[in-house]
Structures are given as structure tokens and as C-alpha cells.
Symmetry: C2
Subunit: 696 residues, 2 copies
């Protein structure tokens, strides 16, 4: 049986066995069965309990063997020590899908982890797929299934959002909080310990579920990022994927030895990963739910141009602030639009965007004004603010009056209703219109901002080439440093320009190199000596033969004096450049994400302002194009105060080549190009220094 | 009559006249009278309307003259063209307080502004004080007054928050939205066009109102910042003041000529002003209302250490993220606390902060755990998360069970109830406990963050010396540049060290200056020549007499060549310093806030990272101490990569002296100290270059 069939039977089973069903109030077994029955499941239910004949009017089976068929799905609710034996019995019954709700596995420590490993091994033997353990279950609101296989005290509201949650309890919270905003779900699954089936397979299932239009995740950890990114790459251009990733402020506590590594704070990598994967990362649970609701109910805006309509000035100003801070624009209206607005708005009204219809606006005014704005080609979305009107209309009347316009419009509508519509009983009627309703302008603005962001993702997302899994996360114990010459050879192979250089012990060779490339920097050629400057083992601006001879002898003396190394010394000679734009480019291996590329402004900027950006390998050309504008001091690249103007497209190509090199050479554990200089008068950047660590 | 009496009669009148009362449904006059009657006003009401005998059961008066007494307050609702005549009649009746609800004044343009000026003049003649015009009125929920003098369709909920709003409609929105969270108000006033009584006087009134514990503002503009700051300085250590200032993203559109001026974006100045004034600035309306509610109902936390208690892990992690990002700490518990928790929590529970009591927690568990945590000396606030429990308890039961603990605790409690308590009808019961209730951890965390912030304000706020109003905002048209020598004289008078310097045309004087202070920088001494470097009119590192002579002749040649200035030239000689920490310090005049001080990291950092901070004059020592840590690249001051370590206290003193100088010399329009250098090996910073513009 293919994995697709297996997942289909998990999410849309025709029959389920409930191992550990109970008729005792307050037990998991009772709550679970209550939930299944309450939602009127369309398949067959087989409660299993040795002590009961019937529960909730359903005939009960004393053991798994007595079940008269092979159910599509078994849900296991019994104590953890009996789970493996239940799996064995289910295997004999040819059951291939289970959800293990039972807890007490990996999440409680080593002993539980051992039991979990044993369980997984048993499942593999029998070819059984599992969600859990420590799962709260799943539900599917498809009317042909109508299965609530959770012990949630809250009945699911049907809709088109799939919710995949690493926390079962957060699932309950979300179901409750979603009721407040009228957000409905297609499927929900609590993935629990993700021992067998994890985010990747569930994502692939919901991606193909015709009842799901929007996918949201709550994640405490991203497992298998490479596979997750691959699964996302097949989805994000078709269905929006939103992620709430918690644990932002916890330090990852990982040892990082290189410069690049030390700067690679976990959450910045998570951010980079999700952005590269075409995911919209939400900062708060509220943002996740509000955004899911908007995606599921509204058409996508074509762009970021918003018309704001209000019956009160103050809230209009607050909305402008909020929208602009989310990257949205309030464009001027066309002359034709202004003329139409003028025709039916009072003299005191503000015709410019935001349109302040003043307090006398009725539902007719709202309808008329919104009809005009909706028809304006320069407007992508309509933002409607309603303060409780002091005239003969209500938010409910306004909403109903606008329903025909909204339902046929290809543009999204957002309502900000600054009134207590819960207590006056009108909230349900308003929500029936199917428009997202907010109490505050800033939450609505952020949500619309996410929709515009997704429009951009659709336009520019390009699939990464994930066919080759290169970058192993495990860092080998045996490793060695590459010297500059070795780095240069590698970089040159990928068309990354490196400063002309020579390693030699012979003054004659050095002199002819000087003739060709001077002025030079001269250093001791030993990559194991770290503090070369401090020990005066570097001489700069060597421009004639005499200086070169002096440099050789001075460095030799210092090596002998400080390091007690006698004999013939080898020197690294490098061409020196006029000053230019100093950048850094590096890579390191993250234990979770694998190889990471870092680009930033060089010099002290890195340390003082953390002005660096990260991408996870593999990178697309779009990723490297995104990196450069993410730098805060971007104007340093554009001919700042006499510095050369950097060709951003060429720089982006170079970063892309660097990424390709790292991907094709997985033995590179760390590499720091510092500095990468775009010299004055040059038409390309050049690697002036580079260090690398590779596995043996 | 003193202004205090007048304000008292405005906010707590014993009798009011309603000029323009009406019995026609839907009119302002009817809605207004309905509101007054509905709230059961304790004083006498005199409706005035020539066409009615009685309205709402109250006898009606045909004109102002017929009112049988002199009412404390008159509310004017009639058309704008009749307002002045009504004021004249009220004057004859010896009425001294009016609220003008009528609109159509300054807010609609020049014609309205003219009418507003005439109205104000008339009021001044008769010694009448006014709120408005274009006000929505005010209310006072003090049970001895119980006046709703607004036409708000929403009845006020009594409480202890005073709300002063520049937008009347936002007032309505706030009343509505406040009902959702159970926030009650002492007084509300819509200040309208603030033609006579503005924020300052209202603030002074509510500061002394015993029924008001917390003061909140909605402002679209800060008028009279100097007086407002003075009024705030008498309040903020006693009552928290929260401000929502809109118009953040609108550019102020002001011309700014100097470096300092060009960087002084409006909103950063507003931020600085509010922070210096001890105000908590809220970013959103939601934050304003949530925070007001928390301040009005909870004791202040002593510090930033929070215990989180939850029945679900995921929300606990979200809460940790949110709290930490608001600057709060989740400390470890004491061994004694841990032991007590262990005694009654199940094995699977997480005892560390956040305490995860797991889903089986009942109201008893919540009470027991919170009792233990509340008693821990290392905890300042308790953050309680409730996901709808799958066991025999409810959020309402939990809340009630905890009420005795909360009501006697000196520590604040915050509830995050992630359940639809509106629809199950328990929200009102829960809110009766008097604890702020949130649906999401991040909104609760931000609110608690504001309380902790206010605790800090109480601890460290110092009143500025506002007795001298120095810094006029009007910039005179005639002005001139000060040269370096003149700047130096002024700076030296305020003990701000300036690099030793000499302006001379004589080589002998220059030589003896060189002997004393070399090496030197030599420049042409003409403050009107701007691009001195480009024209090679500066020579650096002059360390012997020969170099000095060469410098004099080279600069002279260049002046003659580029500027065709013949004759004897004067040179500015300045002592040069070894490299050090480069800073900038400046001032400019803002049309609203007056003189502003700017401090930042010098060199290209200013431009690339806008790493500068602003304060409004006058500055306190606390202000200058706050400035330095507000710099992003603060570690540049602490001995970064071989740079000298800056004595922050000495630097702060220097900024304070600079502020004092600007305040005492209001003729200074702009001044830029760039750079201010802390040289290697020095124990103080030194002004290396300075330009200034002063009024003639």
C-alpha cells in the first residue's frame, strides 16, 4: 500500500477501532468516544473495552480480535505499557494505520524513549503507519467523513484551513479561539512525538486535500528541514503555508567555533529557512489565526494598494499608520473616483485616502463608497472601518448591505468593527458575510500585509534544486585547515576572483611576482599561526625589491624570535588593492539545517551592528538576490562617499557560485572569506583573505 | 474664579443647560439628552429649545434667558452660526463653563478657523472656559455626579481610568471595545479642536481627581509640549500616564538644513519627548486599553521576574517567548518552591518556570501552585495560562478559586484564557474577579511589560527644571555662522574640552603653537568655505617647522588658485590626536519641540545605521544617562578592538553641559560637534570640529 493510501485511510477512514473506549465520565476513553459520536462520524465505530457491552449506544468489543472487520484506523488510548501488545493484535487484524494518543514516551525521558523505539520497531515489522504517540488525535470535517478523533472538549467548525500542531493542547486552544473569529478547519492533526509520521507526510497529504485551501503549522521544532523544504516547494505556489514557530528566544546552546558559526543564532536561521521555503512566518498565535481566516475567505490582493473607508477620522489615521508600517500603500484615488465620491458624500467628508465619510454615514453610504473604490483599478484591497454609528444603521446592516459587492469582487475586503458586536448579538450575523472581522486596525493591517506578502511569494518563488542531499549535518571529528592557496584553488574553480598570490621561499620568485602584481602584502605562509599581525609576521604595501628583501628577513626574524622556528620559511605574497567596499562571505554547518551561507558588510560592522544575512543551502538565484537588500547598510554598496558602486547582480552571482561550491564540496565544514573587497576602480569583487576547515 | 474651580464645574457640574436639546429621534439634541437621562445625572438639567415644552419628561426652556438659575455648565449643540450668539446669552446668565459640540470650525478650513477665532475672543471677553468646539463632550462616572454629557450611543462603564481623546469617534470606539475587556472609566473627555481648554488643563484636573488612578490619551498632535511636559512632571510619579500618538508614519514635511536637523524625523522626537516625560507610549489602541485595564486593576510589580503557570506546554512556550521579548525574565524557582510544587504536581508535570501542570490540572491545582509561587520572594508577577481544561473544571471555576489569593496579594496577576469564554457565557463572571484577561500570551506579555516599565519610571523619574522657557521654536530669519574659535569659546565656558587651537596669519605664532601642541592640523580659517578637503585647504599631521611653512604656502596657493582670494590668509591650527572613538553631538530647533539634542556614533555610522539618539531640552541628568545605552553600537564605547574605553558617566556629564549651554544660549539655532573624539590614552573626550548657526 502506498503512503498516499495509508494517509488517506488515516485522515478519511471508513471505520475506526477505539482501543480503550470507556463509559466512565472524565476518562480519555469516554471523552474520545463522545467526541466521535457528537460529530456524527460517517464510518463504522468499534469501541474496544473488555469490561463493557456497549458505550454511547454502540456495541462494544472485548478485544481487538473480536472486531468483525479490519478497520481502516485504530486509535489507541490505553496505558503506555499495553500499547505494543495492542499493536501486535492490530497487526493480526491487518490494521495498517494507528493513532497513539497514549503518553509517557520520549517526552518523559530515557525510559520512555526506549519504549518509543520499541514501538516504532514493532510498527515497522508490520508495516503499520502511526501518528503519535502523545498525540491528541485528528479530525476531518469533510462532510463525507465528519470524524472527530480527538478528545477535544470543543467541536470543530468546518472550513478550509488545515492545522498541523506539535502541541495537542495548543490545538484545543486554537479550536476555542477560532470560534471567536469564525475560522473553520478542514483537518486538524496533533502530530505528538512525530515518531513515524511527521510534518512532511502530513503536509503532502493536506497539499492534495481538495477541502484544504490554507495550511497552518504550530511547530516547536523543525524536523528534517531538507525534506520539509522539498514538500513545501511543491505546495507554496498553490496553497499558502503559515507557520508559528515557538522557542524564538531560547538560545540553541550549540558550540560554534568560527566567526560565521558564532553569529549564526538559531532563530535567524529558522527565519531564513522559512522565508526561503516560501512560508509566511507568523509572530503570534493571533496573527496565525487571523491570517488563516483571511486566506481562507478572501481572494488574494493583486498588490499592496489599499483603500481605507471609515466613518471616524481617528481610527482612519490609526489604520494608515498600521498599514504603512506593514509595507502597504494608501494611493491617491483617480480623478474619476474622487468625482464620484464627491457626488454623494457630505461637504465635511474627507475624500482622500483614507475616505472619512464622517459619523453620518449609513449602510447606503458604505455600499456606495465601497462600490466606487472597488471599481478603481489602482486599488487592490478595501479596508472598511466601522465605529458604532450614531445614526440609524448598525455594523450588521452595513455588512449585509455590502455582501453582494463583496461576494462578487475579485478584491479582498477587511472589516475593522470597533464595537462590541459580541454583546449586542450581531457578531454571528456579521461573520456569516464571510469577511474577516477585526476589532483593531493594527491586527487587520498585519493580516492584509501577510496576504500581500503571499502574492509576492506566488510571483517570485522558485523551487530550489533539492535533488542532491549534500550537506550532512554531522560534523566529522577529524578535520584540518586549508591554507590560502588551497582555498584560492577551490574558489577559482567556481569563478570566484581571488587576489593574485604566490607561496614561495625564494626571493627571486617573489621579486618577479612583485613586478607583475605589486604592491604586495607579505605574510608567513603557515595557516596554523593565528595572530600573524600581533607577532608582526605580516608586512604590507611592499612595492619595491628592497622592501621585499627587508620584509622576508624581518618576518623570518620574528618567526624565529616568537615561535622558535628555524630554517627556511615560506611566504605568502598577495596583490594589494586600493580601498573599497569590504564585505564578508562565509559558510558553516548548522546541526539542524546543514550548511548555511552568510553574507554581510565587513570590518567592524559585522560585530557592532550584526549586519549579516543568512541563507540555508541549497540557495536559488532568488535567494541570493534577496540577501543583498536584507543588509541594513545597503547604501554602502551604492557608491557611498567615494566608495565604488557594487554591481548587485554580479555580487549576487558570486554568492550563488559560492553556495554551489559549498554544496558540491560537502567536506567544507567552515569557510570565511574576510574580507571580500570590491576595490575602487574594479568591475568585480576579489577575495583578499580566506580560511577554511574541511573534514579529512 | 480659579481654573481649578472652573474645571471642577466642567467635569462635575451641579446643573447643566443643553442648548439645542431636541425631541426628534436621530438628532444630536435628542441623543444627547437621552444619554444624560439614561445615566441618571445627579444634577439639574435645563433643556433649551424654542419649539418644545418638555423633552424626555423634563420641562424645556424656550431660550437661555428663561433658565431659572445660572447653570454650572452649558452644552452647545446648535448649528455653528448660532454658537457665538448663544455664548453671549450664556454670559448674561453668568455661565462660565461651556462645551461646544457643534462642528464646522477650524477642522473644515479657513472660514471655520475665522469663526473659531471669533468664538474664542468672545469667550475671553466674558471669562468663559470652553471644551471644544467639535467635541463629543465628556462624561464623569463618579456616582455623586453620574453625568454622561456625550452623544455616545454606548453607556459608560464606571471605573478609574481617565480618557482624554482628540478624536470623539475614537472615544465611542474605545467605550465599545472597553466593554469587551471590562475596562471602566472615571472620566472621558473629547477635547475637540482644543481651542481653549487643551490636554494640559485636563491633565491637571484628572491628576487631582481622586476617582482616577490611571490616565490615558489619544493624541493626533502634541500641542504646547513644554506646558504638557510640566503638567506631566507633576503626575507621572503618582499616576501612570499612557499615550497613543497617531500619525507615526506621516512625514512632518519640515525643512531641515543641518545634519542634525535632517536626521530629526518627527516620530523619533515624539518618542523622545514622551519617554523623557515619564509617559508610557503605546503602539496600538489594543495595547492602550489592555494596559489601562491592568494598571487600574492590578498592583504594580516590584520588578520584572515572572512566574508562568499553565495547563498546556505549547502556550507556555509561546508565553516565554513573548515575555522575554518584552524584557521580562522567567527566573528559576527557589529549592523550597520546587519542593512544594513537587508535592502536589504529577510526575509528568514540568516544575521549572513555566510550570506545566499538564491537562489534568483542576482549579485546586491552579490555586495551590499559584499560592506557592505568589509566596516566592523571587517572583514579582504571576502569569496564569488556562487552555480549556479536558477535566472537571472550567476557566470560571479556576478564576473563582483563585480570587481570595489574588485579592490579598501585593503582586499582579495576569490571566491568559485560551478559550471562547464569550460564547459559553463565563466571561462576565471571570472579569468580575478583577484580573485582566487576555486571549493570547503576547498581548498579556506586552501589558505586563508596560507595568514593569512604569515601576522603573517611578523609581528613576526626575523632574526637569522647566521654570525657564528658553528654547523658542520660531527660527529668526537673520542668522550667521560661528567660526570654530567662537564655538570653542562658548564650549569652553561650559567645560566642554575643545582641541587646542589658534587662528593666526603669522608663521612665528604658528611655530610656537606647534612646539606646544604638535602634531597639528592646519586649515584655512574661513567658516564660509565648506569643501576644505576637496580643495586641499587642509593639511594634516604637521609635526615640524618646515612642514608648517610648507602647509602655509600650499594652502595659500590653493586658496588663490581655487577661490581667487589674494592677500594675507589666516590659518586655523588645531592639535591632532591619536585615533579614538568618534562621536557626534549636536542640536537643532524643531518647530514643535524647540531645541533638540542629538548624540551618536560618528563617522559613517550616523548615515548608514542612523545610530543616533535624541532628547528634547531641557534635559535631566537621567536623560543624558539614558542616551548612551540607547546607542545601538554601544560596545564601541567600551574598549572595542583596541579603541579607548569611554567613561560613560563623564560623557553623560558632557552631554548634560552641552544641553545646559544650548538652553542658556537660545540664539544657537544649530550646532554640530563632529567629531567629538575620545582619543587613545585620554581621560576625556575632545571637540575636534564644530559648526554653529546663531540668530543675529
Amino acid at each position: 500500500m502506498s503512503y498516499v493510501d495509508s494517509l488517506e485511510k488515516l485522515f478519511a477512514p471508513h471505520s475506526i477501532a477505539v482501543i480503550g473506549a470507556s463509559r466512565r465520565e472524565g476518562t480519555l476513553g469516554k471523552m474520545f468516544l463522545d467526541a466521535v459520536v457528537a460529530m456524527n462520524y460517517k464510518g463504522k465505530i468499534y469501541p474496544v473495552n473488555p469490561k463493557a457491552d456497549e458505550i454511547n449506544g454502540l456495541p462494544c468489543f472485548p478485544d481487538i480480535e473480536s472486531i468483525p472487520e479490519s478497520p481502516d484506523l485504530a486509535v489507541i488510548l490505553i496505558a503506555r505499557e499495553h500499547v505494543i501488545s495492542a499493536v501486535e493484535q492490530l497487526a493480526r487484524k491487518n490494521v495498517k494505520q494507528v493513532i497513539v494518543v497514549s503518553a509517557g514516551f520520549r517526552e518523559i525521558g530515557p525510559e520512555g524513549a526506549e519504549l518509543e523505539d520499541a514501538l516504532l520497531a514493532k510498527l515497522k515489522v508490520h508495516g503499520i503507519r502511526m501518528i503519535g504517540p502523545n498525540s491528541m488525535g485528528l479530525f476531518n470535517t469533510n462532510p463525507e467523513i465528519s470524524l472527530n478523533a480527538t478528545f477535544s472538549p470543543t467541536e470543530p467548525v468546518p472550513g478550509h484551513v488545515a492545522f498541523i500542531s506539535q502541541s495537542g493542547a495548543l490545538g484545543v486552544a486554537v479550536l476555542e479561539l477560532s470560534k471567536k473569529i469564525g475560522l473553520g478547519f478542514s483537518v486538524f492533526v496533533s502530530t505528538g512525538n512525530k515518531t513515524d509520521i511527521g510534518d512532511v507526510e502530513v503536509l503532502r497529504y493536506v497539499a492534495n486535500d481538495p477541502n484544504t485551501s490554507t495550511i497552518i503549522f504550530y511547530q516547536e521544532a523543525i524536523d528534517h528541514p531538507h525534506e520539509f523544504r522539498q514538500a513545501l516547494s511543491d505546495v507554496v505556489a498553490h496553497k499558502p503555508v503559515l507557520v508559528l514557530k515557538s522557542g524564538r528566544t531560547q538560545s540553541g546552546g550549540r558550540a560554534a567555533s568560527s566567526h560565521t558559526g558564532a553569529l549564526a543564532a538559531d532563530d535567524r536561521l529558522t527565519d531564513a529557512f522559512l522565508k526561503q521555503s516560501g512560508v509566511i512566518r507568523c509572530a503570534t498565535l493571533q496573527e496565525l489565526l487571523d491570517s488563516a481566516h483571511a486566506f481562507a475567505t478572501q481572494p488574494l490582493p493583486a498588490g499592496n494598494k489599499v483603500a481605507v473607508v471609515t466613518n471616524a477620522g481617528g481610527p482612519g489615521i490609526l489604520a494608515s499608520d498600521a498599514l504603512e508600517s506593514c509595507g502597504l500603500k494608501l494611493p491617491d484615488f483617480s480623478a474619476a473616483t474622487l468625482k464620484k465620491l464627491k457626488d454623494f458624500l457630505p461637504l465635511e467628508a474627507g475624500l482622500k485616502n483614507p475616505v472619512d465619510m464622517i459619523a453620518s454615514a449609513t449602510h447606503d453610504t458604505y455600499r456606495e463608497v465601497c462600490t466606487v473604490l472597488e471599481a478603481d483599478d489602482n486599488i487592490d484591497a478595501i479596508f472598511v472601518i466601522i465605529v458604532k454609528p450614531p445614526v440609524a444603521t448598525t455594523p450588521l446592516l452595513i455588512s449585509r448591505e455590502m455582501e453582494p459587492l463583496i461576494s462578487k469582487s475579485p478584491k479582498p475586503f477587511f472589516f475593522v468593527i470597533m464595537a462590541d458586536i459580541e454583546h449586542d448579538g450581531s457578531s454571528e450575523g456579521i461573520r456569516e458575510i464571510g469577511v474577516p472581522v477585526f476589532a483593531f486596525p493594527h491586527t487587520a493591517a498585519r493580516t492584509l500585509g501577510n496576504m500581500v506578502n503571499y502574492t509576492k511569494i506566488r510571483q517570485k518563488y522558485t523551487k530550489p534544486d533539492l535533488s542532491v542531499t549534500t550537506t550532512l549535518t554531522a560534523v566529522p571529528e577529524t578535520r584540518h585547515q586549508l591554507n590560502f592557496e588551497e582555498c584560492a584553488t577551490l574558489l577559482t574553480r567556481y569563478n570566484i576572483p581571488v587576489t593574485p598570490n604566490l607561496i614561495t621561499a625564494k626571493i627571486e620568485d617573489a621579486k618577479s611576482f612583485l613586478d607583475q602584481h605589486g604592491p604586495l602584502a607579505v605574510k608567513i605562509a603557515d595557516e596554523n599561526i593565528i595572530h600573524k599581525s600581533d607577532l608582526e609576521l605580516i608586512q604590507l604595501n611592499i612595492s619595491d625589491a628592497q622592501q621585499l628583501e627587508n620584509a622576508f628577513s624581518r618576518i623570518s626574524q620574528n618567526v624565529e624570535k616568537h615561535l622558535a622556528q628555524k630554517g627556511t620559511h615560506r611566504f605568502l605574497l598577495q596583490k594589494m588593492y586600493p580601498p573599497g567596499v569590504e564585505m564578508i562571505l562565509g559558510t558553516s554547518k548548522d546541526p539542524l539545517f546543514g550548511s548555511v551561507i552568510m553574507f554581510g558588510i565587513g570590518g567592524i560592522f559585522v560585530e557592532l551592528y550584526q549586519d549579516i544575512v543568512f541563507k540555508i543551502l541549497p540557495i536559488t538565484r532568488q535567494d541570493t538576490q534577496d540577501m543583498i537588500p536584507e543588509i541594513k547598510a545597503g547604501k554602502l554598496l551604492d557608491g557611498f562617499r567615494g566608495l565604488p558602486k557594487v554591481d548587485r547582480s554580479l555580487l549576487s552571482d558570486l554568492i550563488y557560485s559560492f553556495g554551489k561550491m559549498i554544496q558540491e564540496n560537502p567536506q567544507i565544514i567552515e569557510m570565511d572569506i574576510n574580507p571580500l573587497i570590491w576595490p575602487k576602480g574594479s568591475d568585480h569583487p576579489v577575495v583578499v583573505d580566506c580560511r577554511a576547515t574541511v573534514s579529512d
